[in-house]
């Protein structure tokens, strides 16, 4: 059963000063669907995610939320950040509890919710640790726990694994997949990593380099649970080839661009 909402982006453009970063984006993320946004660096994918979650006002165009907010959902549009965005002066428990403190919940309820989410993310033994005492992977687990505790309807993930080393990324990706299969909320996953997109997404939206436009939308038909099986590898390799072909030229140009502010 889907617990997610539908998120629609219509005619969206955005500039920073004279610099146009997004141009005419139209996109619908269906209930319970996970869409990956990929594109070369600086193509505006993080900007698009900020606009989709309502923390950045778009220049033109709009973002619409469709469907009824599920019962018990405290924060429909919830982010997981690339840099984790944890308060360094709060413990793991304190960081997760932070986002519940302004809701009308009893002390016991809040504690039960935090304990439950810490157990699900394997953080219960680290509940009293400070962020600086944790590895990058554990910090991002805290970021994910904080996102789950508010029972989101749409998870907006901004390169959640990019700050991690390869092994940690692999481990956390498996956690994300199983979490995804369990929670079935709507998701938007920004990444520049093709493998991550192919592992997780139902559809992959390819953005062009600046100003970001939608170049193509590539559906991945294989269920997430079956993507690590040998039989799926041929099809995934073909998709990978197709996606790489789409972004290679763009990435080459983007890489050679001189950034002047």
């Amino acid at each position: 059963m889907n617990r997610g909402l539908e998120l629609t982006v219509a005619g969206l453009s955005h500039s920073y000063g004279d610099l146009r970063v997004l141009d005419g984006i139209d996109l619908t993320v269906r209930e319970g669907e996970l869409v990956a946004l990929i594109g070369p660096s600086g193509c505006g994918k993080s900007t698009l995610l900020s606009i989709m979650g309502g923390i950045l006002r778009p220049e033109t165009g709009s973002v619409l939320l469709g469907g009824r907010v599920p019962e018990g959902c405290l924060n429909p549009l919830t982010y997981v950040f690339q840099d984790f965005a944890l308060l360094p002066w709060r413990t793991v428990r304190g960081n997760v509890a932070l986002v519940l403190e302004h809701h009308a919940l009893s002390r016991d309820e809040r504690r039960a919710m935090v304990d439950d989410v810490l157990r699900r993310t394997g953080l219960l033994d680290f509940a009293e640790a400070l962020p600086r005492q944790l590895s990058g992977g554990m910090r991002q687990r805290v970021g994910i726990a904080r996102a789950l505790v508010v029972r989101p309807a749409v998870l907006l993930m901004d390169e959640p694994l990019s700050a991690l080393d390869a092994q940690t990324r692999e481990l956390l990706m498996e956690d994300l997949v199983s979490l995804w299969l369990r929670e079935r909320v709507t998701g938007v996953y920004v990444t520049h990593n093709l493998a991550e997109a192919l592992r997780l997404a139902d559809r992959i939206v390819v953005l062009s380099r600046r100003p970001g436009r939608i170049r193509d939308v590539v559906p991945v038909a294989i269920p997430q649970a079956e993507r690590t099986r040998p039989v799926a590898q041929g099809e995934l390799a073909a998709l990978n080839e197709r996606l790489w072909h789409l972004i290679k030229a763009e990435a080459q140009v983007a890489e050679r661009e001189v950034i002047d502010d």
Partner: protein, 272 residues
């Protein structure tokens, strides 16, 4: 020792790789500062006793210690110490309270920033001791003018430390809090305030030194009691042993303040 037998025997001229690293690393040598201090004091004592310097202009360390002991034994010094402590504590607290309030206002509200920041920047470089005569005219020769001088000297650096601390709070943390719909008040108390604390605390170190300097200066200009007045009076009477005893007390006061601030910092910023 199988590894050794695994080395091929045929290569000629086999020798150890020369070591080029090392050095350029500060090693801890806890005895060194004490030794340096002891040598200095010994040289000083020797120079005076050996007749190289006149004890009128530079009394020996032993004489300064004796003068200190005498001052405390007779109890005359307490009045001076008490008055000085009263002025510096009151002045520092008043300047800090006002500075924190103004600093947060300037850091958070754009209107307060646009109006207040040029004012603060313009008045910050004014040497506050130059305002003491004016403050005496306004507030009288009593405690109020001295306390106000210290408070003014503390106020401006506190404003600057606080508002730049607010500026320095990571934007991503504020964005995070907003994305979870935290009310603005909660963002201020739970994100901005703790994030500003390191800057405020390092501001405290600066304002404590400023307060001490202004205390002594104000007491030298117009006070009957206080360590500054005591030092000035001792100088006028060529009582250089008492003069240096006063200086030693000021150093001890400064050291005490910095120790307390370090403790406070370690306790409040234990998450770092």
């Amino acid at each position: 020792m199988t590894e050794v037998s695994a080395i091929p025997a045929a290569v000629p001229d086999r020798r150890p790789v020369p070591h080029r690293g090392g050095g350029f690393v500060a090693r801890s040598q806890p005895w060194a500062p004490w030794a340096a201090f002891a040598v200095l004091v010994a040289l000083w004592e020797g120079a005076v006793r050996g007749g190289l310097v006149s004890p009128v202009f530079l009394p020996a360390p032993s004489h300064v210690v004796a003068a200190l002991y005498d001052l405390f034994a007779r109890g005359t010094i307490w009045r001076h110490v008490g008055d000085s402590l009263y002025r510096i504590v009151l002045g520092w607290l008043a300047g800090t309270a006002a500075g924190l309030a103004a600093g947060f206002a300037v850091g958070i509200f754009s209107t307060a920033r646009a109006a207040g920041l040029p004012l603060v920047s313009a008045l910050f470089p004014v040497p506050k001791i130059a305002l003491l005569p004016l403050l005496i005219l306004w507030l009288g020769i009593g405690e109020a003018s001295k306390v106000a001088t210290i408070a003014l000297g503390v106020f401006f650096p506190t404003v600057i430390a606080t508002y730049s601390g607010v500026d320095g709070v990571a934007r991503n943390l504020i964005r995070m809090a907003q994305s979870f719909d935290l009310p603005p008040r909660a963002i201020l108390v739970k994100v901005v305030l703790p994030g500003t604390l390191p800057a405020i605390l390092s501001g405290f170190r600066i304002t404590a030194s400023i307060a001490l300097i202004l205390l002594v200066a104000a007491e030298m200009i117009g006070a009957e009691y206080g360590i500054g007045a005591f030092i000035l009076a001792a100088g006028n009477l060529y009582q250089t042993d008492q003069l240096l005893a006063g200086v030693a007390m000021l150093s001890a006061l400064g050291l005490l303040i910095h120790t307390l601030l370090s403790r406070l910092e370690r306790w409040l910023l234990r998450w770092r």
